[in-house]
Amino acid sequence: MISLSRGHTRALPPGGARVLPRNVLVLTGAVLALFAAMLVGILVGPAGLTPGGVLLDIADRLPLVDVDSGLSTRQQAILWNIRMPRVVLGVLVGAMLAIAGAAYQGVFRNPLADPYLLGVSSGAGLGATLAIVVGGAAGFAGVPIAAFAGGLLAVGATYSLGRTVGGSRSEVVIILAGVAVAAFANAIQTFFMQLHDDTLRQVYSWMLGRLSTDGWSDVVVVLPYVVVTVAIIALHRRTLDVMAVGDVEAASLGINPARVRLLLVCVATLGTAAVVSASGLIGFVGIVVPHAVRLLVGPGHRLLLPLSLLVGASFLVLADVLARTVMSPAELPIGVVTAAIGAPFFLVVLRRSRGVR
């Protein structure tokens, strides 16, 4: 044991006392922003709902509260069966994709890692398509599991390809491998779609990414996966900070990098697969959101993870609002909106990460 004490027992570092309130402030701001985004998501649409009416109607649903919102039965139905489930699904999908992106970036020590770019989304999409097409649009329970298997297979292929081709860790090579895996998965998916052209339109619209409007069923399917995934990733917040110093040093600090990587990749892939099976391929959320958050608060996962979750949720809800309104009354696939914002952002990240080398 080393005793380094010379009798100096100063109070906490100034950093410890100063940083905490700022963190609380930032997190509170992100929560409020999410509520605002959700309110916008609920209000925007052809059936004119008023903010006051919506808030009162939500309050009315709370236990022990009884107020008259002034909404008609039809408006209430739109609020609770169409708008609300769609916004909540947006929250779950956005939160999941963003936190999965942060986890992949952490365990691969690669700022470019993202469920979409690693091929996870496409692999999950292939799995889900096979479940729908071959299994004859089987019940919802089978689809996330098939998507998970596909996603896991894809990320495994990407990682081993990237390692064998690019040496120990080459940031760009692993993304190239991901692109190749994604293209391959997409090709097989297209093949099966052509074989079964009766489901072509259904699968195609799902592939481009869209938030459904058929009530709460998707939310119910996705919710448990998201809760479990987010909880496990959040438990590893400090371990992810340690992973940043590389495998050798992380191991010498007392963690098992290979085991952490395997666990978190499986978990993040499971969560991604669940949301992909519900919402289709929505790209770039996992790269845009954690990077924007990192620019704001630095790389510490204690703050990065919860903030990515909140900002990702807000981002996707607002992207969905755009998707619904830009060509109203027609709807743009939400994947088009996130890609239009995310692809240029990705190029900026790519430039920065090359600059560092």
Partner: protein
């Protein structure tokens, strides 16, 4: 050496017939090594002689066959956390993550003392504060680790290793990236931590002169074998250096210690 029971030095590291492979090739062959608690042993040997592998075996990072005991734990059988509480490794070229402050980097040294899913306690911060003060890093603490010079970074990584509160400190060519002034600074610092804290130091070193100056004992490795083990004056001879390194040197004995001076090929000068 005194025979008094109370002052009998205890052994912190003991290896017998230690072999290890990397990438399917055996790179350590039957290494025997015993290290007394609180001493400084310098590992020397040419590139590829197995110094780094031996350090990684001692840290439990590379599996090995044979008997191995480090600070009462057996690497390979003990959990990583137990290992990291007993043994700290100061890598040759530390990885510096982007956007991380010096204080945050030093805090990572507390990892084996923090429950797997837990957070730092006041005690952890206290230990880090003491290390930061002792190594005079207060002014650097809030700065980004990526902005540090090589010498500053080595001090920070030493601070991180000390924050682990290890009993054995492994150094992998800690000064190879440093100029002579910073080399001296870092080595003196490690040596004073050793004497203050009853720390055992095992250091792989390229510079034979400083290996002899700081090490009470030298262990010379060649292609995975221990070819010499003893006091610096016994290990460092011109013949042996010629044999193992293929280098022509002159040995200078000075009051400050034994120095190894490389010689130029005189035939080429004429």
């Amino acid at each position: 050496m005194k025979s008094d029971v109370l002052t009998t030095p205890t052994t912190t590291v003991s290896c017998r017939q230690l072999s290890a492979e990397r990438g399917g090739v055996e790179v350590l062959h039957g290494v025997d090594l015993n290290v007394t608690a609180g001493s400084w042993v310098s590992l020397v040997g040419p590139n590829g002689s197995g110094k780094t592998t031996l350090l990684h075996v001692l840290a439990g990072l590379v599996p090995a066959t044979g008997h191995l005991q480090v600070a009462d734990v057996a690497p390979g059988r003990a959990g990583r956390r137990d290992m990291a509480r007993a043994v700290a490794l100061m890598p040759q070229r530390p990885v510096v993550p982007e956007g991380v402050t010096v204080r945050e980097l030093i805090h990572l040294g507390r990892t084996p003392h923090i429950p797997r899913f837990g957070s730092e306690t006041a005690h952890d911060r206290e230990v880090v504060n003491r290390v930061v003060e002792r190594l005079e890093l207060e002014a650097f603490a809030p700065r980004l680790a990526t902005e540090l010079s090589g010498g500053e970074l080595q001090r920070v990584v030493l601070a991180r290793a000390l924050a682990q509160q290890p009993r054995v400190l492994l150094l992998d060519e800690p000064t190879s990236a440093l100029d002579i002034g910073h080399q001296q600074q870092v080595l003196e610092l490690v040596d004073s931590m050793r004497t203050e804290g009853d720390l055992t130091v095992i250091a792989a070193m390229h510079d034979l002169t400083s290996a002899a100056q700081y090490g009470e004992r030298l262990v010379l490795l060649d292609r995975g074998h221990v070819v010499a083990d003893g006091a610096p004056d016994d290990v460092l001879t011109a013949d042996r250096i010629a044999q193992v390194y293929g280098a022509r040197v002159e040995i200078l004995d000075r009051p400050a210690g034994r120095a190894v001076l490389p010689l130029r090929d005189s035939t080429k000068d004429c």
